[in-house]
Structure formats: structure tokens, C-alpha cells
């Protein structure tokens, strides 16, 4: 029997995505930052790649960036939630790190190197408890909303 939908959204990977603390808040990308040299990294890591400091701290990363490069996937990879054709990108965040992500809510034709983008979430299936799983994604920045 199918588990009832709880209506809750939980991150597929809590080491990548932090959900907003309050309604109306924005989700954030999780990263690691170095108290010694200030370097910032996408995703969690223990040791600084820049200065070898041990014990990087969890931090949230800039929700905005630009497309460093991209492609449009047109052959469905097994296990992928996004369905072809979909764009993926390496996004250079405004605070430094580069992170790979799907581009959603954005027409494929407008995707280009240098496109300003902002973080959002995309659905990544459902867990056994009926929660909707979400993962990080980016979309073309909607400047007029800012």
C-alpha cells in the first residue's frame, strides 16, 4: 500500500542542501569554509585544499552565481530524476566555489556561459515515509524579483 504524502520536503542529501528555518525562507547550499585561510568549498570536506587546515566548518554558500559551463543532456542516463532534454551546469558561485547542478525552470535555448543563476530546489523522488525528497538546482536569475 502506498504511503500517504506528508507534504513535507526533505533534502535528499543534508550535506548538500539546508532547508529554510521558517516558511518563506530560502533553501541554501551547504559547503565547508576554512577558518584559517577563508577558502570555501562546495559540499562537506574535513581538510582545506588550499592550506591543509584540519577541521573545516559547515557553512552555507552564496545562493547566486554564473554558469561557468554547461551542456544539454539528450540521452536519458539510468537513475536520473531529470528527464531529457535537460541542462546541467558547472556554476561558479559568487563566493568562489564551483558546483555542478541541473538547471531548472529555464528554457534550454537561453542557457549560456556567463548566465546569472540562483539556487533553487528540484524534486528527487519520495522517501519511505512519504516525504518529498529535494535536491539542489539552479535557474536563470529573475532580477526583477530582487
Amino acid at each position: 500500500m502506498a504511503v500517504a504524502d506528508t507534504g513535507r520536503r526533505v533534502p535528499l542529501n543534508p550535506d548538500m542542501v539546508e532547508m529554510p528555518a521558517s516558511a518563506g525562507g530560502l533553501p541554501r547550499l551547504v559547503g565547508s569554509c576554512c577558518p584559517a585561510c577563508g577558502a570555501r568549498f562546495a559540499a562537506r570536506r574535513a581538510i582545506c585544499l588550499q592550506c591543509a587546515y584540519r577541521g573545516l566548518e559547515r557553512c552555507t554558500l552564496s545562493p547566486t552565481g554564473t554558469v561557468w559551463t554547461f551542456t544539454v543532456v539528450r540521452q536519458q542516463p539510468p537513475g536520473s530524476v531529470p528527464q531529457v532534454p535537460y541542462a546541467i551546469a558547472q556554476v561558479q558561485l559568487d563566493d568562489g566555489p564551483i558546483v555542478a547542478a541541473p538547471l531548472v525552470d529555464t528554457a534550454i535555448e537561453v542557457v549560456r556561459v556567463g548566465l546569472p543563476v540562483e539556487m533553487t530546489l528540484c524534486d528527487a523522488g519520495r522517501d519511505a515515509d512519504g516525504n518529498t525528497l529535494v535536491a539542489h538546482a539552479f535557474r536563470a536569475r529573475q532580477e526583477e524579483k530582487r
Binding site: F41, L49, T71, P82, I88, Q92, A100, P102
Partner: protein
């Protein structure tokens, strides 16, 4: 350098690349190994160390090296498995050469072998269920496609520049009896084939393949008793991705820096290389790599290839045997096949694909997590 011995490539051999459902991994490996022993003119009992480069598609995952070498004989030599994705057998060759240079062995054999499943290459193997694969990011052609898009944005490289790599590869493979695809293809056919990851169409992606390669190395003093005209493994260098300015190893590694180390050890420069094999798993592999190797300035790779600069008759002949695109890419076997082609070129045995007067050759073989550059000379 004092105390270091020179290394000779004494023998090379291949099992044809393609699809061989009736042949086991052992069959493929044994065929290539026997061919390399015969080419070297020696028996297996004269081999003092064995290496196997294999990634591991179908077949047993553990102890494969010892099992494969047991097909040839059992005289107790050390046998080592090396896995560096698509760069496995060239990395194995480097370690075999290190043993000989250091005096730990007079001879060594490297077997590269693979049996692969059909379909699109998956980063981390078929069926990987990582966060990245769920998010649709685990797509091998996409990695090359994104490097191509960046190159297009930075330098104005065009889709037809990339497509031309495949046209040239297929034409060269027509003259290679070991190649998987021996059929010519036009620029229009390459550009018109199904789009896989923009700007890469299907005919710009290497096939999955079965196949094997084998290479016999020997110390100079040992080799001198067998051959009057040795091909030298003059220099070798390997690397892994470098963290730089927020970029965490987007590519396979620092090809440019690794090549400069190999040039310095060989005492030559890019202008001295007569024939080259590069890792064209996808067409951007050739254009981006010839820039990193210093053959052309960054950004000039596309027009250089499109103008015929990497043809057999061009200034820098590249992938004279058809490359990964047409010769095929049984992952563990590829590095050894690249070395095999350069050796045949330097011996003047390449037939219709011979580069006239080739005296020095270079192999660039890359896999997820690493890149290798080897320089050979006649």
C-alpha cells in the same frame, strides 16, 4: 642520469577491438600477450614482472591479474593490478618502467584488457546510485561536452571543429586491421547524428568495446641482445587533478604540466614530436589536448584540426590508428594500444597510416582521476 637505466619497448601486441561475446577476458588478454611476446622474440619465462590494467566491467573483480598471467605460465613473478579508469594500462606501463629503470627487473609485461557493456559510459560505473546520478549529473559525455562549451565561449571554437576530429579518426581507422569501426564518415554525417550532450553528437562519442593490449619492456642492456634498433620509452609522467582558484579537479588532471615534465625528462620539446596518440574518448579530447601539449596556442586547436593539422600528413599527426573514437576504447586496454601504435609508427610498420620518418612519439592517456604522458623515440 647516473644510476638510472634506459627502458626499451621490446614488443607490442593487440587483440582486435570490437565486440567478442564468445571470448572471455582471459582469451582476449592471452591473445594480446602472445602477440607481444612473439613481437619481442622472447618467451614468457623471460618476463620478470607482470602488470594488468583493467577497470572491471564484466567478469571477476578480484585477483584478475594473477589469473590472466597464469594463462601464459607460472614462474612466480610479482603480478600487480593497476586501476586508473581509462588510463589504467598507461599508468601500469609507467610503474613497470620504474621497476626496470631502478634495476628491480630486467623485463616486464603490461597487459591491458576489458570487456564492456553496451550503452553510454557512466561516471563511477553503470548503475551507480550516487546523489550525482539521481540528479542526472553522472553522464560521461557531459564532462567533455562542458569542456567543449567552455572552449567555444572562450575561443570561438565551432561544433564542426569538434566533428572534424571524428571524420579524421574514422578515415585513419580504415587502415587499421585492429580497429572497431573501419568505415569512413563525412562531416555532415557526424554533425547530423543524434545529439547526445550539446555540442557532441553520437558519432563524436567513442564506442564501448572488448579488447586487449600487451607491451613488453626491457632494460637497455637486456634488450641489446634482442634488437639492433630499439624503440625507447624515453620519459613518462603522471598526474591527478589540481585544486586551483575554487576549481576542484573538474578534468582528468593537469595534462600540460605532466607533458612539460615528460618533455624535460626526455630532453625534447613539443616541436620534436612526430606522431601522437591522445585520449579522444569524445572529440574535444583531441582539440583541448593538443593545446595542453603545447602543439598550438590555447584557442587555436579547433581551426588547427579543421585545417588538417592533425592528419597523418599534417604538422602534428594525431591518433593515426583511429583513436578511441574509431579504434575503440576497451578502457583498460587503451593505453597499451596507444603505445602499440606509436611503436609501430617509430619502427616504420604502420603501412598506409605511416607517418613518414617518424622518430619521436607521444602518448596522452587520461582517465577519471588521472592523466599520463609517455614519450617514445626511435
Amino acid at each position: 642520469m647516473t644510476g638510472e637505466r634506459d627502458v626499451v619497448v621490446l614488443g607490442v601486441g593487440l587483440h582486435p577491438f570490437g565486440r567478442f561475446p564468445d571470448r572471455s577476458l582471459d582469451d582476449l588478454a592471452r591473445h594480446a600477450a602472445v602477440a607481444a611476446l612473439d613481437d619481442a622474440g622472447i618467451t614468457f619465462r623471460e618476463i620478470e614482472a607482470g602488470f594488468v590494467g583493467r577497470v572491471g566491467g564484466t567478469g571477476p573483480p578480484v585477483g584478475v591479474g594473477t589469473r590472466i598471467f597464469s594463462e601464459l605460465g607460472q614462474h612466480g613473478i610479482p603480478i600487480t593490478n593497476i586501476e586508473l579508469a581509462c588510463g589504467s594500462s598507461s599508468r601500469a606501463l609507467m610503474h613497470a618502467a620504474d621497476m626496470i629503470r631502478a634495476g628491480s627487473a630486467e623485463t616486464a609485461m603490461v597487459i591491458g584488457v576489458e570487456k564492456m557493456e553496451r550503452g553510454m559510459l557512466q561516471v563511477g560505473g553503470a548503475g551507480a546510485t550516487s546523489y550525482a546520478s539521481v540528479m542526472g549529473l553522472n553522464v560521461m559525455p557531459a564532462a567533455y561536452a562542458m569542456r567543449a562549451q567552455r572552449h567555444m565561449a572562450e575561443y570561438g571554437t565551432k561544433p564542426e571543429h569538434f566533428a572534424q576530429v571524428s571524420v579524421k579518426a574514422h578515415r585513419n581507422a580504415m587502415h587499421n586491421p585492429y580497429a572497431q569501426y573501419r568505415v569512413a564518415i563525412t562531416l555532415e554525417e557526424v554533425l547530423g547524428s543524434r545529439m547526445v550532450c550539446d555540442p557532441l553528437t553520437l558519432y563524436q562519442c567513442c564506442p564501448t568495446s572488448d579488447g586487449a593490449s600487451a607491451v613488453v619492456l626491457a632494460s637497455e642492456t637486456w634488450a641489446r641482445r634482442r634488437t639492433a634498433s630499439p624503440v625507447w620509452l624515453a620519459a613518462w609522467a603522471g598526474g591527478s587533478p589540481v585544486y586551483e582558484n575554487g576549481h576542484e579537479g573538474l578534468g582528468e588532471g593537469p595534462t600540460g604540466a605532466v607533458a612539460r615534465r615528460a618533455y624535460a625528462r626526455a630532453g625534447i620539446g613539443p616541436e620534436d614530436i612526430d606522431v601522437t596518440q591522445v585520449h579522444d574518448a569524445f572529440t574535444p579530447g583531441e582539440i583541448l589536448t593538443i593545446e595542453e601539449l603545447g602543439y598550438v596556442k590555447p584557442g587555436d586547436g579547433g581551426p588547427f584540426v579543421f585545417g588538417g593539422g592533425t592528419e597523418i600528413t599534417g604538422k602534428y599527426p594525431v591518433n593515426t590508428d583511429g583513436g578511441l573514437l574509431s579504434r575503440g576504447h576497451p578502457m583498460g586496454a587503451t593505453g597499451g594500444a596507444m603505445v602499440t601504435e606509436v611503436v609501430r609508427q617509430l619502427r616504420g610498420q604502420a603501412g598506409a597510416r605511416q607517418v613518414e620518418g617518424a622518430r619521436a612519439g607521444l602518448v596522452q592517456n587520461a582517465g577519471i582521476g588521472g592523466v599520463n604522458v609517455l614519450v617514445l623515440s626511435a
